[in-house]
Symmetry: none
Subunit: 205 residues, 4 copies
DNA sequence: CATGAATGAGAGTTCATTCAT
DNA sequence: AATGAATGAACTCTCATTCAT
């Protein structure tokens, strides 16, 4: 059971780690931002490292559920499933930019093997679902014979690219720094539309 | 003129930062890895931060030149240009995985504004070239009317996704951990082929 | 409220700074002398600079109070006031030779403007009191028309000269190095007597 | 023989040490201020400490000569001798404020015993001359029976007090920070006049 | 259960000095 | 004779963590 206080600390930590990175954030920073005692982190989580793990565990399942449900749904065609996954995935990531950022920071660094593997597993599970759908589409001949792994890399990579840096995103979109693409609904639709189009034109016969 | 020793330190730093991140790497780590005195970093670069800037400046131009050349080449069609850019970009990034990783680490964290902006500028310049080509293709009606910014995000994002984590990359490819996708020529061709296919099917009328 | 430990550190610091100067004293020296952890100084005071400021604030008022009281006392003549101030000033400074030394070290160096100004203000306040008394005596014609500012310089400067260096003081007094003039009551009386005589012969009509 | 370069470095060092103190000045600061190589100081003087000693040796005799000459002059009365010494001493010190400051910084710190003793000796020699004159005056009954040592402390201490801090000096004199009392001839005469008056009124029968 | 006080380890940086040239 | 390059030692300060209460 996650207490309110633990959750509160984790949420503050997500914001902080996203801004300054894990190593760049000090427990004192976190304590003062979350308005708790410096000893609380070690008290609740044991260590700074374990706090990180707790965060991943707490939030990492943030895509599962919907994915399984979509995959299992027998009334949907493969392309409909993919469209749904795109919509859900974009929505989920855009609503959790900080957590998403943390995950990718961790992925970018080989360090902390156990953690790294953990995160990779989460991703791989999501990816496997997608691959299954694509392979099924290929078997049914509604999809071209594509490279399923790299197709997923394209799908996820496009979203990641946009999530990388608000500043870069805005420069690309010719927006000034005050614009927040991650909460803008028009931008979200634009991203979803692009992904669907490019995936459709690539996959569909 | 960059002396051998400076270059040596920078290369060691690129490896180290790629593994542990900038904040996670200590000057003492770096010194012992590069087998130089701890004071050398400050002696040569002034500070750890400035070492980072020096690295970016030293390596960041790693794509320019070729890009300009390709854009300016009048004997090439737009799609040929894009194919060439894909080939070059993949080659460059796959041969500098550590530096690439560092750049993206920095992008992922808003901190260190000046540095961030610097890197963003480098990217934006490359991206602008690509956008120009796409827009010209659209004007000539050889390309469909696409979203040029997000098309670039797809192109670059796909590569990034693959570069994110060797471990994840290998899991996707069903390879074990000893395989290094970044130096494998077969993998490189596979990536290039995928990118060309997906971009062609999306762009071409 | 100043805790015992803070006070303990400050007292150790006063001794150390007096011996080696502020720049010449390291936090490690101080920590081992005060028998506390090296991190304690930063923990309690924030930084070495702020420790210095804390010391000045803690001790700087060491003459006020008595000075105000003497100045305000209406039953005393001007020369009686000056005699009292001499007695008190000598007593105070001789009982805090280390702190006095620190203050003068800081005054001797222009650096650290804020600190410098702070100390100057403390001195100027004391000096102003004395000037007021002298000027009143001049107005009442019990004092000659003297240079009040330089008269104060003489008074304070004489004491400072004696405080400058125990070694020099002893050489002047034909004493060996083991003699501590600052705690010797005979020496104190001799100093007070000299000051009163020279000031009297200069001021009084 | 002191070469031009050695002298140049010493003069730059005097300025620097006066501003930032001996410990507060780095050889690199000094080298760049004197516009010489960092290795020059050690090359010429052996070490930073020895540079300090060289400075004292080079400049410390700055009062001798005149003092001996005055003491030996048989055509002068004792009070005339003292007046001359006051004039010369004030002139010398006011023209070498930086060096004077350095000497007193060193005196204020017990550290560096050898150096300390050296400086004390220089002072004591000057002081002894003055004491001889006073004692002769006392013997001749032209002077009162005074405390000769503390009389010297008064004389020198008054000057030192004024030299302590330009800022404090200006505050006392109601001048703003741009005024330089040490080069102002009016101020110099005022100081000489005050010293003569106070010493006369104290010494003379 | 929660915390303020305390700490050892290690961070980045600066230092006076040395040495090959 | 003079110097740029290089270095080991020491600096101040911050860190994650512990512990008595």
């Amino acid at each position: 059971m996650i207490t309110d206080k633990k959750e509160h600390i984790m949420n503050a930590a997500i914001e902080l780690f996203a801004e300054k990175g894990f190593e760049g954030s000090s427990i004192r920073d976190l304590a003062s931002r979350a308005d708790v005692n410096v000893a609380m982190v070690n008290y609740y989580f044991g260590s700074k490292d374990k706090l990180f793990e707790a965060i991943v565990e707490y939030k990492a399942s943030f895509m599962r559920g919907k994915m399984d449900e979509i995959e299992a749904n027998k009334t949907l065609t493969e392309i409909e499933k993919i469209d749904l996954i795109i919509e859900n995935y974009v929505a989920k990531i855009l609503s959790n930019p900080s957590f998403h950022r943390i995950l990718y920071q961790e992925l970018l660094m080989g360090e902390r093997e156990a953690m790294h593997e953990n995160i990779v597993k989460v991703f791989v599970r999501n990816i496997t679902t997608l691959r299954n759908i694509i392979e099924q589409g290929v078997k049914k001949k509604v999809f071209k014979k594509v490279d399923p792994e790299l197709t997923m890399a394209t799908l996820i990579g496009t979203i990641n690219q946009v999530m990388l840096s608000k500043a870069m995103c805005n420069m690309l979109m010719d927006r000034d720094g005050s614009f927040d693409p991650y909460t803008d609904l028009v931008f979200r639709q634009r991203l979803i539309k692009h992904l669907k189009q490019i995936i459709h034109s690539y996959l569909l016969n």
